[in-house]
C-alpha cells in the first residue's frame, strides 16, 4: 500500500514536469521519477501476486504453507530490495535499461527472493491434498514469470539485441505469463463469488489462457517492428498482436457470464465489483487500446510517443491493479472477520479511482494523438510540439487527483479495518495473512 502511494506521488512529479513545472529537478530529475514510478508498480503488483498466491494456494491445496515465517521474511525483503533500488535511482545508480533499471547486485537478491517464494509455493502444492487447475495455472504463471526474468540479465553490446531480449522479459511477462496469473486469480474469485461449478470455470480458464499464449507469444513481434529487427516481424507481430484482445475479451465475457449464471448471491459486493471491473477494464485498456496502436502502419507513427502511456495506464490499472484490489477486497473480510461488505466509502473508492483513471487515459490519448500529428506528421521540433500539448497535462493532473482520492479511501479503510478482529477470527485464517505491500 505504501508502495502504490509512492508510485502515485512520483506520477504527480512527472505530470507537473510535463506541465512545465519542474521545480524538483535538482533532487528528483525526470529519469529518476520515471524509473521509480515504473519499478514501484512492478514491485507492488508482484507483492500483490505473491500475497494472493499465499492465500489461494493453501486454500486450493487444502494445506497450510510449508513455512509461514519464511513467507513473511520473503515478502518483507522483497519490499526492502524495492526501496533500496529506488533510493539508488536518486543517486544515479542503475543499469538503465527501460523497465529493468535496477542495478545488477539487486537483481541477484531478487532472484534469491523469488526462488524462496517459488520454493514455498511449490512445496505447499506438492504436499497438498489436491492440485486444482486454478492452482496449477497460477503456479505455472509464477514459475514462468521467474524464469523469464533471467533473459533480462544477459549483457549485450548491441543495443538491438539488448532490446530484443528485454522484451522477452517485459512483453512475455505482461502479455503472457502475468495473464496466466490473472486468469488463475480471476478463476479463484469467480469460483468463490459466483458459486458456478469449478469444472465449468476451469474449462474456460484453459480456453482463455490458451488464447493468451496463442496470440501473446508471437505477439511479442509488435515490439520488433522498428528496432533493427527483420521485416517478417511486422507481419507476424501485426497479425498475432491484433488477436491479443481476444484473450481479454474472453476474460470479460467469462466474468460477466459466470456472474449472470451464478445462482449464489455472495454478500461481498465490493469484491464482486472489483472482479468484474478488472475483467472489463482489462479488455478496454489492454485489449482495445492496445489494438489501437499495434498495427505496424499505425505504430510507425505512434511508436515512442505518449500514445503508449495512454495504453499503459489503463492496461496496468485494469488488468493488474484492479485485480489486486479485487483479491484484497475478497480476502480482507475473511481474514479480519469483519463483515464490512458494503462500506459506502469503499464503493466511492471503486468509482472514483475508475473514473479518475479513465479521465487520465483520455488526457494521455489527447496529448498522444496531438503529439503524433505535430511531431511525426508536420515535423515540428520535439519541444515545440510538447509546448502545444502542455494543457493536456493539466487535465491529467485533475483526473489523477480524482483517482488518488479513490485510492486513498481504499488505503485508509485497509489500514483502519486491516487488523484482525480477534473475536471474529477463525484460527485457521489467522496466518493466511495477505500482505499486499510493505
Amino acid at each position: 500500500m505504501l508502495l502504490i502511494i509512492l508510485q502515485i506521488t512520483y506520477g504527480f512529479i512527472m505530470a507537473f514536469a510535463h506541465y512545465g513545472m519542474d521545480g524538483l529537478h535538482a533532487w528528483v530529475p525526470f529519469n529518476a521519477a520515471r524509473a521509480t514510478h515504473n519499478n514501484l508498480l512492478v514491485v507492488w503488483l508482484l507483492s500483490g501476486f505473491m500475497g494472493a498466491a499465499y492465500y489461494i494456494i493453501p486454500e486450493e491445496a487444502q494445506r497450510e504453507l510449508v513455512s509461514v515465517k519464511l513467507a513473511y521474511i520473503q515478502l518483507i525483503t522483497l519490499a526492502i530490495v524495492g526501496v533500496v533500488a529506488i533510493i539508488g535511482f536518486h543517486f544515479n545508480w542503475w543499469e538503465g535499461r527501460k523497465f529493468l533499471e535496477i542495478p545488477r547486485p539487486l537483481d541477484y537478491l531478487v532472484v534469491v527472493n523469488v526462488l524462496t517464494f517459488l520454493g514455498i509455493i511449490l512445496a505447499t502444492l506438492y504436499k497438498g491434498k489436491q492440485q486444482t487447475t486454478t492452482a496449477m495455472v497460477l503456479t505455472m504463471g509464477l514459475v514462468f514469470a521467474a524464469l523469464l526474468y533471467l533473459p533480462g540479465m544477459i549483457w549485450f553490446d548491441n543495443q538491438a539485441m539488448d532490446a530484443f531480449f528485454r522484451w522477452w522479459v517485459v512483453h512475455l511477462w505482461v502479455e503472457g505469463v502475468w495473464e496466466l496469473i490473472m486468469g488463475g486469480i480471476l478463476a479463484f474469485l469467480l469460483i468463490k463469488l459466483t458459486g458456478v461449478d469449478r469444472e465449468v470455470i476451469e474449462k474456460w480458464l484453459y480456453v482463455i489462457v490458451g488464447l493468451t499464449f496463442l496470440s501473446g507469444i508471437l505477439g511479442t513481434g509488435h515490439h520488433y517492428y522498428y528496432i533493427g529487427t527483420p521485416e517478417y516481424w511486422l507481419l507476424i507481430g501485426g497479425i498475432f498482436s491484433a488477436m491479443e484482445p481476444l484473450a481479454f475479451l474472453g476474460m470479460a465475457l467469462f466474468a460477466i457470464h459466470m456472474y449472470r449464471k451464478g445462482g449464489k448471491s455472495h454478500p461481498n459486493k465490493i469484491a464482486l465489483s472489483w472482479t468484474l471491473g478488472t475483467a472489463i477494464v482489462a479488455f478496454a485498456g489492454a485489449g482495445l487500446l492496445g489494438l489501437a496502436h499495434t498495427l505496424p502502419q499505425v505504430n510507425m507513427y505512434t511508436h515512442g510517443t505518449l500514445v503508449t502511456a495512454m495504453h499503459g495506464h489503463l492496461a496496468f490499472w485494469g488488468a493488474y491493479g484492479m485485480l489486486i484490489f479485487a483479491i484484497i477486497s475478497y480476502t480482507m473480510p475473511l481474514m479480519t472477520g469483519r463483515k464490512l461488505f458494503e462500506l459506502p466509502s469503499n464503493i466511492y473508492a471503486f468509482w472514483l479511482s475508475l473514473i479518475g483513471m479513465l479521465g487520465m487515459t483520455t488526457a494521455f490519448a489527447a496529448a498522444g494523438v496531438a503529439q503524433v500529428y505535430l511531431e511525426r506528421k508536420v515535423g515540428l521540433d520535439f519541444m515545440v510540439a510538447q509546448k502545444e500539448i502542455e494543457i493536456h497535462f493539466l487535465i491529467l493532473i485533475l483526473c489523477a487527483s480524482l483517482f488518488t482520492t479513490g485510492i486513498l479511501i481504499f488505503v485508509y479503510n485497509f489500514i483502519k479495518y486491516g487488523r484482525p478482529n480477534e473475536e471474529a477470527m477463525q484460527p485457521e485464517e489467522e496466518f493466511e495473512a495477505v500482505q499486499p505491500a510493505a
Binding site: 529519469n31 535511482f89 533499471e101 530484443f164 490458451g210 499464449f213 522498428y226 521485416e231 506528421k377 520535439f382
Partner: protein, 143 residues
C-alpha cells in the same frame, strides 16, 4: 461442446506450438538478421563504452532510442544526423542543466573522452536499418 480435457489440450498444445515457432524465428533474428541490419561488425570499443554510459545514466528515463524509453525528451535515434557531433558533445559536457525551451536535462558534465564515446554510439545507432522508422514528416503539411 468442448470438454475440459479438450480445453487443456488446446492450451498446452497451442502454447507448445507457438513457443517453438517463436523460438525458431528468434533464433533466425539474433543469429542472422539483427547483426546484418545493425551493422554489428561496426560495433567498436568506443560504441560499447558509449552504450555503457547511455545505460548507466538511465538516459532512457527521459529520451527514447529506437522509439523505446520515456517520452519526456526527444527521440535520439537520428540525433547524430539531426544535430551533429559538436552539438551533442556540448550538451553532454555541459556543467549546467541543458534546457532548450525550458525543459531541463540533468547536467552530466561528461569528460571529452566519454562524450566522444557517446557520439560514436549515436553514430552507430544512426546507421541501423529500422524498417523505415522514424517516419518522414508528410510533405503536404510542411509550412
Amino acid at each position: 461442446m468442448l470438454s475440459k480435457k479438450q480445453a487443456k489440450v488446446f492450451f498446452l498444445g497451442g502454447t507448445l506450438l507457438f513457443s517453438l515457432i517463436f523460438l525458431g524465428l528468434s533464433y533466425e533474428s539474433i543469429t542472422a538478421s539483427i547483426p546484418k541490419k545493425t551493422n554489428a561488425d561496426q560495433i567498436s570499443d568506443a560504441v560499447i563504452r558509449g552504450k555503457h554510459i547511455w545505460d548507466s545514466n538511465n538516459c532512457m528515463g527521459c529520451h527514447t532510442l529506437l522509439g523505446e524509453g520515456a517520452y519526456y525528451a526527444p527521440e535520439l535515434t537520428k540525433v547524430y544526423e539531426r544535430k551533429g557531433e559538436t552539438y551533442i558533445k556540448t550538451v553532454l559536457m555541459s556543467e549546467k542543466p541543458w534546457a532548450p525551451r525550458g525543459r531541463q536535462m540533468v547536467a552530466y558534465g561528461l569528460s571529452e573522452e566519454d562524450a566522444n564515446d557517446v557520439v560514436e554510439f549515436f553514430k552507430w545507432v544512426n546507421e541501423m536499418d529500422l524498417n523505415g522508422f522514424p517516419p518522414k514528416p508528410s510533405e503536404a503539411l510542411q509550412p
